[in-house]
């Protein structure tokens, strides 16, 4: 809004939309009077010219210069208020020992950052991300496999496509409950495994050695559909005659995959890879809903939020958030260096 002070402000601001109408209204009463008074036309022309010089072009120019700012102001305002201001505050909190209440008391410099990298309680959660990171690869492989299968003509392909994709749409809390129920001791999973002779199943969520696998598996179940639809869309945008030509040349399905499909969707795979990295660092919903971070399943984000809202160490939590943000930015930067031809303006 600072821009508005540069021009003849109130006129400039209100003028944009109604300027034309106002001129007409003012001009019209003079019009009929014109013929009666001698020399009318000349006078009204002169007046119009004067008026034009006074406010028309100048006002309109200011106005037209302001227009784009007016259109973009709400979005930018919200962006600054809810994204950049918190980010800046976070940087500031991260060098203090603020508890989230009252005024900031002590500036502690880099102590919080030192703690992030030395406190075993915090450091261990990075390890938890690895489960999800591996899970994300499994998820991409599955998605790629099924996307390739369904890109060839298949019976009931709509049904299968819908079934594989649908979990992605389901509410996270609902998914959490579905899998809590599935993993219950003596529950569905144990029963099914019993059919195959596995009579002594582990505690899927109660055993700290297993819990992270179970949660990462749930995450794969939830998100495979998204990768699948993205891959399928990319595969289907490959021109059909490429396959036909390949088939004429006697290429096998596998050869078609390695020579046509894979190169054709490399870009979206690269993008999914980045999402996998940042996604596995910022896993939150599934473990929070299902175990609340117990049994060694706390992820980095759970730990950060607990530090901030349960332990009231906003300073330390901010430092953790800044570290996560830095990692995501670095990974994204690396990706853009590696795939410079990638179309990134959408990311």
């Amino acid at each position: 809004m600072s821009v508005s002070t540069t021009g003849p402000d109130p006129v400039g601001l209100s003028g944009p939309l109604h300027g034309v109408a106002v001129l007409d209204e003012r001009g019209r009463p003079r019009g009929p009077g014109g013929p009666g008074a001698p020399g009318g036309p000349g006078r009204s022309q002169r007046r119009a010219a004067r008026r034009g010089r006074r406010e028309g072009p100048a006002g309109r120019r200011v106005l037209s210069r302001l227009t784009p700012y007016l259109f973009v102001s709400a979005a930018v305002g919200l962006l600054l208020l809810l994204t950049y201001l918190p980010a800046a505050n976070m940087l500031w909190y991260s060098i203090t020992d603020w508890n989230g209440l009252g005024p900031v008391e002590n500036v502690v410099g880099l102590d919080n950052y030192v703690e992030v990298f030395t406190n075993p309680r915090i450091l261990s959660v990075f390890g938890v991300s690895l489960y999800y990171f591996v899970g994300a690869f499994l998820q991409m492989a599955l998605a790629l496999y099924f996307a390739t299968l369904l890109s060839f003509s298949t019976r009931f392909s709509n049904f299968f496509r819908g079934v594989i994709f649908f979990p992605y749409l389901i509410n996270g809390v609902a998914i959490g409950f579905v899998f809590l129920y599935l993993f219950q001791p003596g529950g569905t999973l144990d029963t099914v495994l019993g059919w195959f002779g596995m009579t002594d199943p582990p505690q899927w969520l109660g055993d700290a050695d297993i819990a992270n696998y179970s949660l990462a598996g749930t995450s794969v179940w939830r998100y495979t559909g998204l990768n699948f639809v993205l891959f399928l869309g990319a595969i289907q945008s490959i021109p059909n005659d490429l396959y036909e030509a390949a088939e004429l040349d006697g290429a096998s399905r596998w050869q078609q995959f390695t020579n046509i499909i894979f190169p054709g969707i490399r870009r979206i795979i690269g993008l999914s890879f980045i999402l996998a990295v940042s996604g596995s660092l910022s896993v939150f919903e599934i473990p929070f809903i299902m175990t609340g971070g117990a049994n060694g399943t706390a992820t980095f984000v759970i730990q950060t939020l607990q530090t901030a809202f349960s332990y009231r160490q906003v300073g330390l939590a901010s430092a953790m958030a800044v570290v996560l943000l830095a990692i995501v930015l670095v990974v994204t930067w690396i990706q853009r260096k590696l795939f410079p031809d990638e179309k990134v303006d959408l990311t």
């Binding site: 259109f71 809810l82 980010a87 910022s282």
Partner: protein, 272 residues
């Protein structure tokens, strides 16, 4: 023989995938129709004796605060969607149709913002929301849903780039000002993009868990109402199952009717 094998493998793997997806959901559906006695005596995979036992659903609705959840979610959803559409299309209009100082900077700001994981920055966002006095109000959620929506702006921009500028020029020659052009020319032509945004944003808001959990503790939204089942119904899985099914049902209906749009919308907004 060698020609049959790949086909068998293909359908076998598809069927296994379908089972892996549908089995966990089906057993929850089974449980939701069981009486509590039946639940404790039958295995999870045995279907309910009475498919019309709706007792658990009514318990979930009445005691679980699901009605409140649905009402609140609908209110927040509608206001946020209307706001997102207006704010997003206006921003996209400015960025796509005007050359102005700071345009590059603004685009850069939007671009970088997509990289910030919003869950983490809640540490600091919380202070701003409570500083505005909005903690524990639905307005906080609306504001956050409006403010975190950068993907919508990208979808609008992408779509607007495909609307010929000659339409704007024609309208301008007819004496339309910029606002009229936006409102009468651009906005109606953006309908497909608006539909896309409504769908992906609508699903995201419906499913959002953490924001209502953090900012609206005293009222239930659909996710938090369900999440709160954990306490009072902790031992009553048949009620939890009914609540879960109630939450999934609208998503399923939306999916069945809007499939084509959802796939399209995701590919457009996917690259988030």
């Amino acid at each position: 023989m060698t020609r049959v094998a790949p086909g068998v493998l293909k359908y076998a793997s598809l069927i296994i995938a379908a089972i892996v997806v549908l089995l966990p959901l089906s057993v929850v559906l089974f449980a939701s129709f069981k009486t509590s006695g039946e639940y404790s005596t039958t295995g999870p995979l045995s279907p309910p004796a009475n498919w019309f036992n709706l007792e658990n659903f009514s318990t979930a609705f009445r005691q679980g605060g699901m009605v409140e959840g649905f009402v609140n979610t609908t209110i927040v959803l509608v206001i946020s969607l209307v706001g997102t559409i207006l704010i997003g299309t206006m921003a996209a209009y400015a960025i796509d149709r005007f050359a102005f100082r700071g345009r590059k900077l603004i685009m850069g700001l939007f671009l970088v913002a997509t990289l910030i994981p919003s869950v983490t920055s809640q540490v600091a966002t919380f202070q701003i929301i409570s500083g505005l006095g909005l903690f524990n109000t639905k307005a906080a959620l609306v504001l956050l849903f409006l403010g975190t929506d950068i993907i919508a702006i990208y979808i609008f921009m992408q779509f607007m780039a495909g609307i010929p500028v000659s339409l704007d020029e024609a309208a301008m020659i007819d004496g339309a000002n910029r606002w009229t052009i936006y409102w009468r020319v651009i906005l109606p032509l953006l309908k497909p993009a608006i539909a896309t945004v409504v769908i992906i944003k609508g699903i995201a808001i419906y499913n959002e868990f953490y924001l209502p959990f953090l900012y609206l503790p005293s009222e239930g939204m659909i996710s938090t109402s369900l999440f709160n089942f954990k306490g009072p119904f902790g031992a009553q899985w048949e009620v939890i199952a009914a609540g879960t099914i109630l939450v999934i049902l609208p998503t399923l209906v939306a999916f069945l009717f809007l499939q084509r749009w959802i796939y399209k919308g995701l590919t457009a907004g996917a690259v988030k």
